[in-house]
Each structure stands twice: as structure tokens, then as C-alpha cells.
């Protein structure tokens, strides 16, 4: 059975020593500094490529018309699929969820879905009969720690970039327009939550780091993931066990997290604007034509 390699005793010891005695991280980052965060959009709508240092994540949003759940006839369906393939690391198996995977998907679930970032009621087409099923697939291409924050950013980016086909209702007849006929429309988006994960080190968890890389994650004794939006609304906090940490420290973490979230959100906005411009100038018609060909095919 392929197993995950743990860092050696020397590495663990040294990492702690560096952090606690010298206050330096192996890559020379500040404790509250993220690795360079990069976001690129594909030609398709709703494809976000996010890289956070050596952690690379691809998120793809897609939509199809389907039947709403019986118990929620007025809501559309919104799912976030996080399946870790062996591409993440060879010990992940398809169809066999690991703890990492389940916890990740729960965090995204709570951060994006339960916090009502996407207006699911706007996905309803015909009450109880037809609705949009929006789905985001998170693909971890390379895992070098802090999947949560990267994945969350990718999901939000993909969803905000995504355009679903336009529809109309005339006397009870639902028509779904191809991109050729009508320019696809964005999703009903309410707010953009982001995850910020702190990792704690030391017997009392006194040392706190942002955006731990894989090595650091393997050595940490506890972690807390805080999800906020730029309006200072907490969407979710998860410190799922681990070594206890001073309550005050957690409060500090939260306030720092808020500033980070604001950075994220401005970065994302700028990227979206950039992309919109790119598509607009001239590219727009080409876009249509390209779509056109696809539709016929």
C-alpha cells in the first residue's frame, strides 16, 4: 500500500527550532504572509486556475437543467465536488474518501454553500419541475499544503466567472438559449467568502502561521480555518480539535484574517475586471463565433 512519507525527526525538530527560537520559516516568509497567489481564467467561462506557491488547484463550474429536490421545489441545486485524485498524492484513491477530502469538502460546503454565497432560489426555473443544477468540481493538481484556502478561492473565482445559459419562459414553455442565441448570464451572487487557515505550533500552540506549506502542515499541532467576507461577516470557523489555543489568540487570528480576506477579494475583483476587458475588446465577437461552432457540433 503506498503510504504517505512523514518528515524525518530532524526536519520536525529543526522546523520547530527555526520557528520558535529564530522566528524564521524555511522559505523566509513572514509568519502572517501567504505564498504568491495567482489566478488565471481559461477561455471557457467558469474555469479558474489557482496556484498558491506549489499548491495548484483547478476549479470548474458547470450547470445543467434538472429536477429540483422534492423537499425544496423552489431551490436550485448547488454542489461542490472535491474529489482528491492520485494526482494530489499517490496515496489518494478514486472513490475512497480520505479524512482530508471529507473535511475539505465540509469546509467549502459551510463556507460557500451554507453561507448563502450563491442565491439558489434564482436557479429555480419551474417550481418543483425544472431548475439549474450548478456544480463546481475542484481538482487538486499539486498539493503543497493549505488546500483549503486555495480551493475556496478557486471555487469562488470559478463561480463568479461562470456564465450559465440564458433562459426564458413563455406561456409555460421553457427555452434554454445557446450561447450563440443569447450571451450567457452570470449567477445570482450575494457575497464572496474566503477561507483563511492558521496553523499552530509548539506544546501550547503559541506560534501561529498563515498559509502553512505541506511540511509545516505535517508538523503543526492544531489549525483553525476562518471564513469571512469583505463585509466582516464570519461565515464559518472550524478549529476541529487539536492542541488547545488561547481564546485571545483566536480573536487576533480572526482580525488578521479579515484583512487577508479583503486583500483576496480585491485581487479577485481586479482579475475578473481584467478578464472581462480581455473578452470584450474584439475578443467578444470571436468568442461568439467560437461558441457558435461548438453549439452546432
Amino acid at each position: 500500500m503506498p503510504r504517505e512519507a512523514e518528515p524525518s525527526a530532524n526536519e520536525k525538530a529543526f522546523l520547530l527550532k527555526a520557528l520558535q527560537d529564530e522566528q524564521i520559516r524555511l522559505d523566509g516568509r513572514e509568519f502572517d504572509a501567504y505564498r504568491p497567489l495567482e489566478l488565471t481564467f481559461g477561455d471557457e467561462y467558469g474555469v479558474a486556475n489557482v496556484s498558491l506557491g506549489k499548491t495548484k488547484i483547478l476549479a470548474k463550474a458547470s450547470a445543467e437543467v434538472t429536477v429540483p429536490f422534492a423537499d425544496r421545489p423552489l431551490d436550485g441545486i448547488f454542489t461542490i465536488a472535491t474529489e482528491l485524485s492520485p494526482m494530489t498524492a499517490p496515496h489518494f484513491e478514486v472513490n475512497r474518501p480520505t479524512e482530508t477530502e471529507v473535511l475539505l469538502s465540509r469546509l467549502l460546503e459551510k463556507t460557500v454553500r451554507r453561507s448563502g454565497a450563491l442565491d439558489t432560489e434564482s436557479l429555480c426555473l419551474v417550481a418543483g419541475q425544472k431548475c439549474w443544477s450548478v456544480r463546481v468540481d475542484v481538482h487538486v493538481l499539486s498539493h503543497d499544503g493549505n488546500l483549503t484556502d486555495a480551493a475556496c478561492f478557486a471555487v469562488v473565482a470559478a463561480l463568479r466567472h461562470f456564465r450559465k445559459p440564458d433562459t426564458s419562459m413563455e406561456n409555460g414553455v421553457l427555452t434554454v438559449y445557446t450561447p450563440a442565441e443569447r450571451e450567457p448570464v452570470p449567477l445570482g451572487w450575494l457575497h464572496s467568502p474566503f477561507c483563511v487557515t492558521w496553523s499552530f505550533f509548539g506544546d501550547e500552540g503559541e506560534t501561529a502561521l498563515l498559509d502553512a506549506d505541506w511540511m509545516e502542515e505535517q508538523v503543526r499541532v492544531a489549525s483553525v480555518t476562518i471564513s469571512l467576507n469583505r463585509h466582516g461577516e464570519i461565515c464559518q470557523i472550524a478549529k476541529l480539535g487539536g492542541v488547545p489555543v488561547e481564546a485571545v489568540a483566536l480573536l487576533q487570528c480572526t482580525s488578521v484574517a479579515l484583512t487577508k480576506v479583503k486583500e483576496f477579494s480585491t485581487y479577485l475583483d481586479s482579475k475578473l475586471a481584467e478578464d472581462a476587458k480581455r473578452r470584450d475588446k474584439g475578443g467578444f465577437m470571436a468568442e461568439l463565433r467560437a461558441e457558435n461552432d461548438r453549439v452546432v457540433g
Partner: protein
Amino acid sequence: MSTESPLVVLPGESIDPSLIPTHHKNPLRLGPGLRHIPPSEIVPTVAGQLVVDNRKTSMWIEYNGGRYIPSQNDLIIGQIVRSATDFYYVSLSPYTPNATLPHLAFESATKKTRPQLSPGELVYARVSLANKHMDPELECVSPSTGKADGLGPLKDGMVFDVSLGFARRLLMAKSREEGKVEVLEALGEDGLGFEIAVGRNGKVWVNSESTKTVVLVGRALRETDEKNLGVEAQRKLVKKLVREMR
């Protein structure tokens, strides 16, 4: 790109017989990346640069990347996984079968005096047996002299992962001339004192009095490797890092 256009070969391409060195008595020695299909065909199995050494009548493929595959007499840095009755299980790289290191394969080791290694500790060892049908075997003592010559447990310090190619360059006899690795010398010239051990399996162990130094060396090595820095760039990098640290 270097001056003389290097000959890049892909797997399965036939090699121009004229290139194959011949010698009246020394047999031809094939290095990594080549395979001999009897009677006389020699075919590359990986993509890389064909290097021919006529004096040594040897030829091999120069390439970088991929996973470490143990071969005899490689020096490696391994991690103790657990101890069996009379040998340790040692991991050379993740997800690969463990190598075995006999308890007595240390300098002047007896049942009583052998080093007691616990899981997670590091050893600097030589591959004594590598065979595709068997898990590799290691030793921390030269069978001929019975001396350790530098091999054995590695205490403290830090391990940094580098590419296999870079590890090989660091291990070259004249790493500076042939391997174009300047960074270590540069660091030394800046008056940084540190010990270093390089494993063929892409691991570099660095230790020093000062934690800062270790981190600095580590970053210097990594960046040199990842950013493909040339001699001058390496010197610049070291300067920069040293400035940051101070």
C-alpha cells in the same frame, strides 16, 4: 543553450554507429538511459542528451528529473522507518519500497556497540545492492576498509529536497568546473560555516551552529536548482540572501 549543439535523443531513436566509441581492449561502458539490444544495437530509453566519452569508452544519457532509482554505490540520505530483528527499514523516497540497512553495517559495530536508531532518524549510506527484483540494501561502512568514511547517522541539521540532476552535480568530483555549481563556494566565501551531505536520491542535509545559516544554505540550494541559476546568478543570489539574513 551551450556552445556545441548537444545531441538530444528520444527513447527508441537509433544512435549513429559512428558515435559509439570503440577501443581495441576496453569494453564499451553504458551509463544510465541506454539499453543494449543484442547483437550490437544501442538504444536510448529516456529523453536526454547523449554524452560520449571516448577516453573511457563510455557513453550515457544526461537528463534530469524523475524518481530516484537506486543503483549500486550511490550515496543516499535515508530515513529510518522501523527496526527489524537485525536490520533497519530505510525509506529512500516516498511511496517506494523500503531499503534494508543491516544493524552491523556501521563502522566497528557489534551486537552491543551498534548505533540505536529510532524511526524518523536519518542516515547517510551507500547502496550496497541494487537489483530490480530485490529491495535495495544499504551500508554505512566500506566493506573493504571497514571505515565509515563519513557515512552513518546524521544528527540534527535539516534536509532539503533538490532535483536528482542537481544532486548529481553537487556530487561531481569537480562540481564547480563540470557541474557549474558555485553556490556552496559562494556561501563559504561569505564566512558561513556549515556541514553538508548530499544524497543521490535528491536530498541534501545541512547542519550548522546557527539555524539561520542552515535556512540560508537551504534556500540558496533550492533556488539555484528550481530557477536554473547560472554561475553569476548563483553568486548574486547568495549575496542577496546573506544581506536579508543580516
